[in-house]
């Protein structure tokens, strides 16, 4: 047999052997292409090939080497893929098992409501007064009542049962005293006073599903030249729509507070209000009290009620949270039951 025939035969058998299932590619490579391998052996016969044929035979030899090398490489790659697939298959897990959870703490639901209110009023250019100096939780009778136009024998004091510490010191029953403390310090040359005062307040009440001796209020006040009741209406509409949704409406009803005149109760619609809705189909829920600040209150704070006018309102985060989420017992807010707190975990809503 000629060398060419030998090479061709080697190529054929090599292909066959490479494609044999289960063959050990590395030892096959050595036996075919190694220094003592079959191809090397055959090519030793090149020295016997006539000079003019050497080039052709050499090319055939190279072709055989190349073919075998490529095939071996392909086979090896295929084997590696198979091996990898096998390994990956063995690593398959049940992806439906629960993930390991990472604790993320939640702001208290009342804090969330207060945060929403704060965000809204910051956007409207209001200051937040909640520090221990201007918004103390323990107040004087003077700031809590007398400055709010509630002298000592005023009948409306019956509306607020008070935890007194001494005859002159008490747990504040409302966040309204923050108004007076802020007004005293305000410099009107820098524009109107626009402030809200969130914080805890206390009433001498027996705790039950709808009463709590401790709850929260957010007092709001704007004092300036030409502040009107229409401005109050617009301000309250904007915060109620921020809290309850844009399609909710408010209505104002006459009421009485010693510190405002006119005074109103404000209701928010429980349902969304559309233009074609009949008035009797709107269900109203009472949510807050408000009014134009009483001239006596302004005067006591050193503000000329002829020059300046003001409105004030008091928001109740506890009540808002109860309405918004259907919480039927106010005591839930102060038990700090993890099962309760952790439900209010939605962010960015």
């Amino acid at each position: 047999m000629s060398l060419v025939e030998d090479l061709t035969a080697l190529k054929a058998t090599a292909i066959e052997r490479i494609n044999t299932v289960g063959v050990d590619i590395e030892s096959l490579r050595v036996s075919l292409l190694g220094r003592k391998g079959e191809l090397t052996n055959l090519l030793k016969g090149m020295k016997n090939v006539p000079a003019q044929e050497r080039k052709t035979v050499g090319e055939i030899g190279n072709d055989v080497r190349q073919t075998i090398t490529n095939l071996l490489a392909e086979k090896k790659a295929a084997e590696e893929v198979a091996k990898l697939n096998q390994q990956l298959a063995s690593e398959t897990i049940d992806v439906t098992l629960p993930g390991s959870s990472h604790a993320v703490g939640q702001p208290h639901v009342l804090q969330q409501i207060i945060d929403e209110i704060e965000q809204h009023f910051l956007g409207l250019g209001f200051k937040i007064i909640d520090d221990t100096v201007d918004s103390p939780e323990v107040e004087t009778d003077e700031y809590n009542f007398e400055r709010e136009n509630l002298p000592k024998d005023h009948p409306a004091r019956d509306m607020q049962d008070t935890f007194y510490i001494t005859p002159e010191i008490l747990m504040r029953t409302q966040t309204s005293p923050v108004q007076s403390r802020s007004l005293e310090k305000h410099d009107f040359s820098k524009g109107p006073l626009k402030m809200i005062a969130p914080g805890k307040v206390y009433r001498r009440d027996t705790d039950d599903a709808t009463h709590s001796h401790q709850f929260h209020q957010v007092e709001g006040m704007v004092v300036g030249e030409n502040i009107t009741m229409a401005d109050l209406k617009g301000t309250l509409l904007s915060i109620m729509q921020a809290l309850f949704g844009e399609k909710h409406q408010i209505r104002m009803r006459p009421s009485y507070f010693p510190f405002t005149e006119p005074s109103v109760e404000v209701d928010v619609s429980w349902n969304e209000v559309t233009p074609d809705m009949k008035p009797e189909d709107i269900e109203w829920i009472e949510v807050l009290g408000a009014g134009m600040t009483h001239p006596n209150v302004l005067r006591m704070d050193g503000i000329d009620p002829e020059k300046y006018s003001a409105f004030a309102f008091g928001l109740g985060p506890d009540r808002f949270a109860m309405l918004k989420y259907g919480v039927d017992d106010i005591r839930q807010f102060y038990l700090n039951d993890i099962r309760f707190l952790s439900q209010f975990n939605r962010k960015g809503n």
Binding site: P98, S100, S101, H102, A103, G105, Q106, H108, Q111, F121, L122, G123, L124, G125, F126, K127, I128, E137, V138, E139, P155, A156, D158, M159, F163, I165, P167, I169, G191, P192, K194, K200, Y202, R204, T206, H213, Q214, G224, T228, M229, A230, D231, K233, G234, T235, L237, R253, P254, Y256, E261, P262, E265, M292, H294, S309, L335, N336, D337, I338, R339
Partner: protein, 818 residues
């Protein structure tokens, strides 16, 4: 106040539409314009089929001792047979029959049921004879005459068989129960309410009229009165009516009373109540013959006086405070609050003294509160009665005593005081109204509303000078009038605007930003925010307090023994929260609270309030339903300490040191550290004392409490950027065998001190204590990392620096390098 629209219509020329749908609209209008409505109702509440029947025949029931068989005439030719157990039935009586098919409110459930023919022990009964309490009358308003039987009409009621009992009894009169705010004294009367409704409905009010006939004899010869001090009663007048016949009131008056929620008692008492409802002016009647002396004296109570009031309670009077009407030897009544038993009008009374007065509102209010005796009279005097009506109501009451009780009115009023109230006027300008309301009303818009209100005024160029009427004691200043304009103009009609003017920035202060950031950091570290009660027990108020000798802030008159004292620490509240959760099967708890603590100062001085932040951990650190071995492990001191140190790091407190302490009595003496920023005490962290947690059946609980003021004043707000080195790091490990009592902090600070400026990190990666080590020793292993910002470090440099560290450790702490 329960306001019958039928009655109100008398003063409003019958312009109120009494159809149910119209009444509902009116109630809505009242709520938007005037006051809240508690309830819009009728006594009938949907009942029907009630007719007047005359008992023609009563026969015993053959098979019952307590029932009888009655034949009643219902105005038709056939008699109706009714079986009844009423003990007070007799032939000839006019009674109320609930007919077969009638709808009656079932007493126990409050639902309407249809009456059917029944057979009672073999006898057919076509309906039921009823008491008022069985057809929707509250026990408080049903007359007491027929308490134990069916209702029986009197002859003077002028009813006849077949009449609709609902009409006869006024049970279908629509009643609006107004929920009055404390300023609306005027609406505690039907006339005042008529003015209010008239303003809404644009109707003029017709006030009631009467003709008083007086006899020759002078009242002042029968009774005299002296007043100590005009401020007790600026108006006080009496009338004497002789020879009255005390009996039941006519049905028309009884209807007025029970529709107003009052029980008819007898004609004289009913007249006084009727006047109070009509004018808002309480009137009192004394039995003249029961007065031991006929010289009355209005004065403050004396020492040790007592009085039995009409409700049969013995009241110890407050000397110098309660106002009493007294004879020379006994107090007769608590003025303006309640009459006395000793001079009560009863069915034997012949001669009466009627009193009408204005009593000092503050004193009446104080008396009502002191004796817990809030009466119809006191609620009116407290809010203020119409001074212009005091004497009119007295005369009207006298006239009715003549008309309804056949009395003879003695000539003249006996007056102790009659101070005139000065009329006050207020200038109301269109400019001011529009400035406050944001409206564009004209003067004629404003005067149109004043006309609706029946306020008198004079107009000028651009303002109206309004005369404040005596019936509105709540009117005093311009703002009061602006409110009247606003509510009648309609709050719904006000424009909707936002305040305009100079822009004000809405921004948080530095302190507010830090407190809000503190909360966010705690939440990102896995703690839920808690809000606990500020008021607690004295023990808990100080349980984990910074200074256990600080003065407590204590309530003067607490509601319960659990809530007497303002807290001085937050951790005690969080510990209560933990106990609550564990009791409710929640075992893994991570909470924080940010809030105030209170340190009392001198009496009548405000306390010092400080912001604190505290956290608590118990149970397992993480929790997995199925990988328990991998993740579940009980929390320990280092978990809570890690939270504190991560927090302090992020809020910008540097140079924090943790100093082991056993000074907190309620903390574990071996697992608690005081926390300092430099020299400043910030708070503490550690395990709650096991004695406390065991007593509450809790597993180990870990907590911290920090003074936020101290944290904030020691935090570095600016971020200092350091260029990130692009040169390689080198590290060296050192395992140290040291005495067990040498603290990590000591080693760390020594390393930092001697290591040179290339050391960028010291990391403790292993702590070992155990059998394999000599006793009294522990092993600590550190990795020291070196890096240079300006070039690649050389082995030799690092080796030299590391050598300095090991030498120092060996020399100063007798460490053995392993």
């Amino acid at each position: 106040m329960k306001t019958s629209l039928t009655w109100l219509n008398e003063y409003l020329n019958n312009t109120i539409n009494l159809e149910p749908a119209a009444v509902a609209d009116l109630a809505e209008q009242v709520e938007r314009t005037s006051v809240e409505i508690n309830e819009s109702t009728t006594i009938a509440k949907g009942q029907d089929g009630l007719i007047v029947a005359q008992v023609m025949q009563v026969q015993p029931h053959p098979d019952s001792d307590h029932m009888v068989i009655a034949q009643v005439n219902v105005g038709t030719s056939d008699l109706v047979q009714v079986v009844t157990g009423a003990p007070n039935i007799a032939e000839g009586q006019l009674v109320i029959l609930a007919t077969v098919g009638a709808h009656i409110i079932k007493h126990d459930t409050g639902e309407l049921v249809t009456l059917e023919k029944v057979t009672l022990r073999g006898q057919d009964s076509y309906g039921m004879l009823v008491a008022l309490q069985e057809i929707g009358f509250d026990n408080k308003i049903a007359p007491k005459n027929f308490e134990d039987g069916i209702h029986i009409f009197s002859e003077q009621d002028h009813v006849k068989p077949g009449d609709d009992a609902l009409v006869v009894l006024g049970m279908n009169e629509p009643v609006l129960d107004t929920d009055l705010t404390p300023n609306r004294a005027d609406m505690l009367s039907m006339i005042g309410t008529a003015y209010e409704f008239g303003a809404m409905l644009k109707q003029k009010v017709t006030v009631p009229d009467f003709d008083l006939v007086e006899y020759e004899s002078l009242a002042s010869e029968q009774v005299t009165v002296t007043l100590d001090d005009d401020s007790l009663a600026p108006k006080y007048a009496l009338r004497v009516i002789n020879n009255v016949t005390v009996t039941d009131s006519p049905l028309w008056l009884q209807k007025r009373l029970w529709n107003a929620g009052m029980r008819p008692i007898n004609n004289i008492v009913d007249i006084t109540n009727y006047m109070m409802l009509m004018y808002g002016q309480p009137i009192h009647a004394f039995d003249l013959d029961k007065l031991t002396h006929h010289e009355l004296h209005i004065r403050r109570a004396k020492k040790d006086e007592q009085l039995v009031t009409l409700d049969e309670q013995t009241r110890q009077l407050r000397s110098g405070e309660d106002i009493v009407i007294a004879t020379v030897d006994e107090p007769l009544m608590l003025a303006g609050v309640m009459g006395g038993k000793s001079s009560e009008v009863d069915r034997q009374t012949k001669h009466i003294v009627l009193e009408s007065a204005v009593f000092n509102p503050s004193l009446v209010r104080a008396t009502a509160r002191r004796h817990n005796l809030h009466s119809e009279a006191s609620s009116r005097f407290e809010r203020g009665v119409n001074w212009d009506n005091t004497l009119t109501a007295l005369d009207h009451a006298a006239q009715l005593s003549d008309e309804l009780a056949g009395g003879q009115v003695a000539r003249g009023q006996v007056v102790a005081s009659n101070i005139q109230r000065s009329t006050k006027t207020i200038a109301l300008s269109t400019q001011r109204v529009n400035q406050i309301l944001g409206t564009a009303l004209t003067l004629s818009d404003i005067t149109a509303i004043l006309d609706q209100l029946s306020f008198d005024y004079q107009t000028h160029d651009d303002y109206a000078e309004v005369i404040l009427p005596a019936r509105r004691p709540d009117m005093g200043i311009t703002a009061d009038l602006i409110e009247e304009i606003a509510r009648l103009y309609g709050y719904d009609n006000l424009p909707v605007t936002l305040p305009y003017g100079p822009t004000t920035p809405g921004q948080l202060t530095q302190q507010q930003r830090q407190i809000r950031a503190s909360r966010r950091i705690m939440e990102s570290l896995g703690l839920n925010q808690a809000i606990s009660y500020v008021l607690t027990t004295p023990e808990k108020a100080q349980q984990f307090a910074e200074n256990t000798t600080a003065k407590l802030l204590t309530l003067d008159y607490p509601m319960s023994s659990d809530r007497t004292t303002a807290r001085q620490n937050l951790l005690a509240g969080l510990l209560e929260d933990v106990a609550y959760n564990v009791n409710h099967f929640v075992r893994d708890i991570a909470l924080y609270e940010q809030g105030r603590v209170f340190i009392a100062n001198e009496k009548n001085e405000l306390p010092t309030e400080m912001e604190h932040i505290a956290g608590i951990l118990t149970g397992n650190y993480a929790n997995s339903t199925w990988q328990a071995l991998k993740t579940d492990r009980p929390v320990d001191f280092y978990d809570i300490k890690g939270i504190v140190s991560d927090y302090l790091n992020q809020i910008g407190v540097n140079h924090v040191t943790y100093v082991a302490t056993d000074r907190h009595v309620n903390m574990h003496p071996g697992q608690t550290a005081d926390i300092y920023a430099g020299e400043v005490y910030l708070g503490f962290v550690g395990q709650i004392h096991p004695l406390i947690t065991k007593a509450q059946k809790l597993s180990s609980v870990f907590g911290f409490e920090l003074n936020l003021f101290a944290v904030m004043s020691n935090s570095e707000l600016d971020v200092h950027y350091h260029k990130v080195s692009r040169f390689p790091q080198m590290s060296r490990d050192a395992a140290l065998l040291v005495d067990a009592d040498i603290k990590h902090a000591t080693i760390e600070s020594l390393i930092a001190q001697v290591s040179g400026d290339k050391l960028v990190n010291i990391k403790l990666f292993d702590v070992y204590k155990g059998d394999k080590l000599p006793s009294g020793k522990k092993s600590l292993a550190y990795t020291l990392t070196y890096q240079d910002n300006d070039g690649t470090l050389l082995e030799a440099e690092v080796n030299a620096d590391f050598e300095k560290v090991t030498t120092a450790l060996i020399n100063e702490l007798h460490v053995e390098i392993r």
